[in-house]
């Protein structure tokens, strides 16, 4: 299904919903604010709260969405493309007029916990409140304490570019009613504290399944589903579940820690939106937090492996020739890559993901490994959009996804053409 068709269908369904569900109601959880305490901690002074907030703001990668390219940090105005239209992020610097300078702690908590802003309007779930609702009140107020220390920047919130009736915020109350469950994270007493910390970070502040989880036609993610892969803007975020072929099944906990901490490991390198996540967020997480995330992710079961059709030999032969000409110099003959420099393609879950969109996008537009304190080199790959046709890129993808023991669905030239067009238009 083409991206345009998918978008049209989703929009039509949402319109239908708007007509049918005019009277959805939703019970709020009045006890939430102080319900959960995650372990004992000392009562911190203002500095302790601020520095904790700074850590959490990085963990949540707030800056990524709340900063426009070349814009002032946290002043918003970054265009967030969604299947429904473009949403502009808001200014979360403490500017009284255009930022959150006049927001009380309670206002801020309500936004994070319920997705409702100071004026009582419903926010769009491009702001990941369906995940942030799991945060403890202490954590939310620490985040606020840190944001309050930023230099106020005047930056008026730009109107979102959404079609009627999606531009009516009241509609989001219905969306919330159908898809949103507020409530602070409840630790699983059967699991270790480390596992619970990992789950809290992955399902809450990290909002990993916002990209790595499947979204329904209305753009909602089921919080109870394991993150088995999903679309992130124009890339595909691979499964974080236990599948050996296309998930984290063959990764060790140390692989996950290294990947999130440095942007690369012996299995793959971060690219695209994830490179940004590593650069701005996960590289700053403490080792215990990264280890907790790894423990949690490694506990996710492997879903039933999808059956994949066998690819015909002619396609593989054409793809193999293209691989020699364009890829082999760096990724080497057996797709083994050069550890530390160029990522392996063999046995890569990103390469064998449910959707080839990330791999297609990298071949079209190139990619850059994140620059981190631990690994400062942002090794980059050029794009091949000008050199390879849609059919060639499809053959090449199909080959890479099925060579050296890899196994994944073939790629069609039409799909490459669609994605090429989408990427060309995207900023």
């Amino acid at each position: 299904m083409g991206a345009a068709l998918r978008k049209a269908l989703a929009l039509a369904s949402l319109l239908l919903l708007a007509l049918l569900c005019t009277a959805c109601s939703h019970d709020r959880d009045p006890a939430a604010p102080s319900a959960v305490k995650l372990g004992e901690r000392m009562s911190p002074g203002p500095w302790g709260q601020i520095s904790r907030g700074r850590y959490l703001v990085r963990a949540g990668d707030c800056e990524a969405c709340h900063t426009a390219p070349n814009g002032a940090p946290f002043a918003g105005d970054r265009a967030i493309p969604t299947p429904f239209g473009t949403i502009y992020s808001s200014n979360i610097t403490p500017d009284p007029e255009t930022g959150i300078g006049n927001w009380t702690d309670e206002d801020f908590y309500r936004a994070m916990h319920e997705g409702i802003d100071r004026e009582g309007d419903h926010l769009y779930p491009a702001f990941p409140y369906p995940w942030y609702t799991k945060l403890s009140r202490d954590d939310v107020l620490s985040i606020k304490a840190y944001l309050d220390t930023l230099t106020p920047v005047r930056q008026v919130h730009r109107h979102n570019e959404l079609p009627w009736p999606l531009d009516q915020r009241g509609l989001m109350a219905m969306w919330d009613g159908m898809y949103f469950q507020d409530g602070t994270y409840q630790p699983d007493p059967k699991r270790s504290a480390q596992w619970n910390r990992g789950a809290y970070l992955v399902k809450g502040l990290g909002h990993c399944s916002a990209c790595h989880g499947d979204k329904n036609f209305a753009g909602a993610t089921d919080m109870d589903d394991p993150p088995t892969g999903g679309y992130a803007e124009n890339a595909y975020a691979p499964s974080l579940a236990g599948g050996v072929r296309d998930g984290l099944g063959s990764w060790t906990e140390q692989d996950i820690v290294q990947y999130l901490g440095t942007g690369r490991n012996s299995r793959t390198s971060a690219a695209g939106p994830m490179a940004e996540v590593v650069e701005q967020s996960t590289q700053y997480l403490s080792k215990p937090d990264l280890e907790a995330i790894a423990v949690y992710l490694k506990s996710l079961p492997a879903p039933k492996d999808a059956s994949v059709a066998t690819v015909d030999k002619d396609t593989l032969d054409r793809g193999a020739a293209l691989y020699v000409d364009n890829c082999e110099a760096c990724h080497l003959k057996q797709g083994q890559g050069e550890i530390g420099a160029f990522p392996p393609l063999r046995q890569s879950s990103a390469v064998q993901a449910n959707s080839a969109d990330t791999l297609i996008g990298v071949i079209l537009d190139g990619a850059r490994i994140p620059q981190t304190t631990a690994e400062p080199t942002g090794l980059a790959m050029q794009g091949f959009a000008d050199h390879l046709s849609d059919a060639q890129i499809a053959d090449l993808n199909t080959y890479i996804r099925n060579a050296w023991g890899n196994h994944a669905e073939a790629v069609e030239a039409d799909h490459v053409a669609d994605l090429r067009e989408t990427l060309r238009k995207s900023p």
Binding site: A329, E338, P376
Partner: protein, 586 residues
């Protein structure tokens, strides 16, 4: 009236190899460093990406990666009786413009000079007597020894991830390496590059003649490499596009692939591109630099105040800037007095083309993929019977097999048409060439000064180069070429074409970019511009980097020594920052 920028601690003129090293070292020492680069920002992707960098016509023939002579050039003559004319096209050498400098487009041939090279005058006098040195040869010791530089060579080699085979570790000779090299503390960080068919031919032939061939030290990574700064390089793909091209595979050491990923993350480092520095400013005493003045791309004159100025531009540009800024006494060839512009030197190259039957596939190459012998370099042999000073290595480099400029045809091959094509077809895959790379000494008659007639785009007098090959060098080069021919003839079934270098020196055909001197280092302010730490004798907060400090040239590519001297100087700068003043008193 020049606009004035906020002051910085240290300003660097240029942003190539030496500036990157100095910036990395001094920012670590805690000072604010600013680099001013006349060219553009460049990075591996997109600028050197493999989808377009292997374009010989664009980069090698049309020279898109070098400095533009329409902005900056020099005038040239062979001797003082001639009138110099400006070079309107690059020819004999290829200075760079742009971040990374010539470190972007070099081959990666990264050598150490011999221990005797640094004490050549005292060594030559001791072994052969004072009378052995021609009267007009300004031969002089460097003021620094190989032993002092050894740890700094080591640092540069480990920064770059040099692929090679050590020949002398702590005085112990190691089989397979260069038996003549100065002792090193440890081996190279990476094993040698894979051999190509032509270097195997050379190796066999050289052994047959009785020489000791070894793999040339290469700044082309033979394996993936993570250097001590944590910067990651990928392994060389042997694409054959090093010299005059940027590397698209993160395999050739350059500032971009070894330092910049770390340096550019620092808050106390900044750089500006398209800034052409035209003056080093001094205070009323003339003893203290107050910063530099540059012209930006809009033509604005901008003053950049600084506590310390480091000249990190190409050798001739450093000298030009000193002359324009009236720092140090300009050299007078008539009285052989003065220092700025004195002891310009170059290198003398020749080759022996070899035509044989075995298929060599020359296109699988790397910039520093080669096999060499060092029997006739420096003073590795008795010069007594030959009557010349200096020497050079003899090597078979397999840098690549680019179709336009890198092919070898027999002397009698037609120059065009069907006959040329036939000769090309018959020889491209099987011909190779043995190169000699000879030293050039400094002479009273080889110097740099300001041209009395020609001016650059900024209205400043152009630099004037007066240079010719002297009998000593032509004799030495002829000797080396004969030895190379001896090796060529030992290749089975080979016919050879001996291409000796003839005088006078012509600046038109490409030879080598290894220009040296003009702001030389030494122990005596009467014969040097900078002291042994590369600090100006006249203006102690001014430093000069690069090959302009070489008192004369040696028989090796200079970058390894430039790198070592830069680290050596950086250590001295750190001492200077704690206690500013001249580090050497006379």
């Amino acid at each position: 009236m020049a606009r004035r920028m906020p002051p910085v601690d240290v300003v660097l003129v240029g942003f190539g190899w030496t500036a990157s090293i100095i910036a990395q070292e001094l920012t670590d020492a805690g000072v604010q460093v600013l680099a001013l680069e006349r060219g553009a920002w460049r990075d591996t992707v997109p600028d050197f990406a493999t989808d377009h960098i292997q374009d010989e016509l664009r980069y090698a023939v049309r020279k898109q990666i070098f400095e533009s002579p329409e902005r900056e050039t020099l005038t040239f003559r062979n001797n003082a009786s001639q009138t110099a004319l400006p070079m309107r096209h690059l020819g004999s050498f290829m200075p760079a413009a742009g971040v990374g400098g010539a470190g972007v487009h070099w081959n990666g041939q990264c050598w150490r000079f011999l221990p005797q090279d640094f004490v050549i005058r005292s060594h030559t006098e001791q072994r052969y007597g004072k009378g052995f040195i021609p009267a007009d040869m300004n031969l002089q010791d460097w003021g620094v020894t190989y032993e002092e530089l050894e740890p700094h060579y080591d640092r540069f080699e480990y920064l770059c991830g040099i692929s090679g085979q050590a020949g002398n570790v702590n005085g112990q000779l190691v089989a397979g390496g260069n038996p003549f090299e100065g002792p090193r503390k440890r081996g190279y960080p990476l094993p040698p590059l894979e051999r190509s068919a032509s270097t195997v031919l050379f190796d066999k032939a050289a052994r047959e003649v009785g020489f000791n061939p070894f793999p040339c030290p290469a700044a082309n990574a033979s394996r993936p490499y993570r250097n001590p700064l944590g910067v990651q390089m990928g392994q060389c793909t042997y694409c054959g596009y090093c010299e005059w091209f940027g590397c698209g595979n993160y395999s050739k050491a350059s500032p971009q692939t070894t330092i910049l990923p770390v340096l550019l993350r620092k808050d106390n480092f900044h750089f500006r591109t398209h800034c052409n520095v035209t003056r080093v400013n001094t205070d009323s005493t003339g003893k203290r630099a107050t910063g530099v003045t540059y012209v930006d791309v809009e033509g604005n004159q901008i003053e950049q105040p600084a506590q310390m100025v480091v000249l990190c531009a190409f050798a001739q540009h450093n000298v030009h800037l000193l002359l324009l800024s009236k720092i140090g006494q300009p050299y007078d060839p008539v009285s052989n007095t003065g220092v700025v512009g004195r002891n310009y030197a170059y290198q003398i190259t020749s080759s022996v083309d070899v035509f044989q039957k075995e298929r060599l596939n020359p296109f699988m190459g790397a910039g520093a993929l080669g096999q060499a012998i060092d029997e006739f370099n420096g003073d590795n042999f008795d010069h007594g019977p030959h009557g010349f000073v200096g020497g050079g290595y003899i090597a078979l480099w397999n840098t690549g097999g680019r179709p336009i400029l890198q092919h070898y045809l027999p002397q009698d091959a037609p120059k065009w048409g069907a006959g040329w094509k036939k000769a090309m077809h018959e020889n491209y895959l099987t011909a190779c060439s043995i190169a000699t790379h000879g030293s050039v000494m400094s002479y009273r008659t080889s110097y740099l000064d300001l041209d009395p007639t020609w001016r650059d785009v900024y209205g400043n007098p152009l630099l004037r180069l007066t240079f010719d090959f002297q009998p000593n060098e032509l004799k030495m080069s002829g000797f080396l070429t004969d030895k190379a021919a001896q090796i060529g003839r030992a290749i089975p079934g080979a016919s050879i074409h001996e291409k000796k270098r003839q005088g006078p020196y012509s600046i038109v055909p490409y030879q080598t970019t290894h220009n040296t001197g003009g702001a030389v280092m030494g122990d005596d302010p009467k014969t040097s511009v900078v002291n042994r730490y590369l600090q100006s004798w006249d203006v102690p907060n001014l430093w000069v980097m690069g090959a302009s400090v070489f008192p004369q040239n040696a028989g090796y590519n200079p970058t390894g020594t430039v790198g070592a001297l830069t680290y050596w100087s950086a250590e001295a700068m750190k001492r200077y920052l704690k206690n500013p003043g001249p580090l050497v008193t006379t």
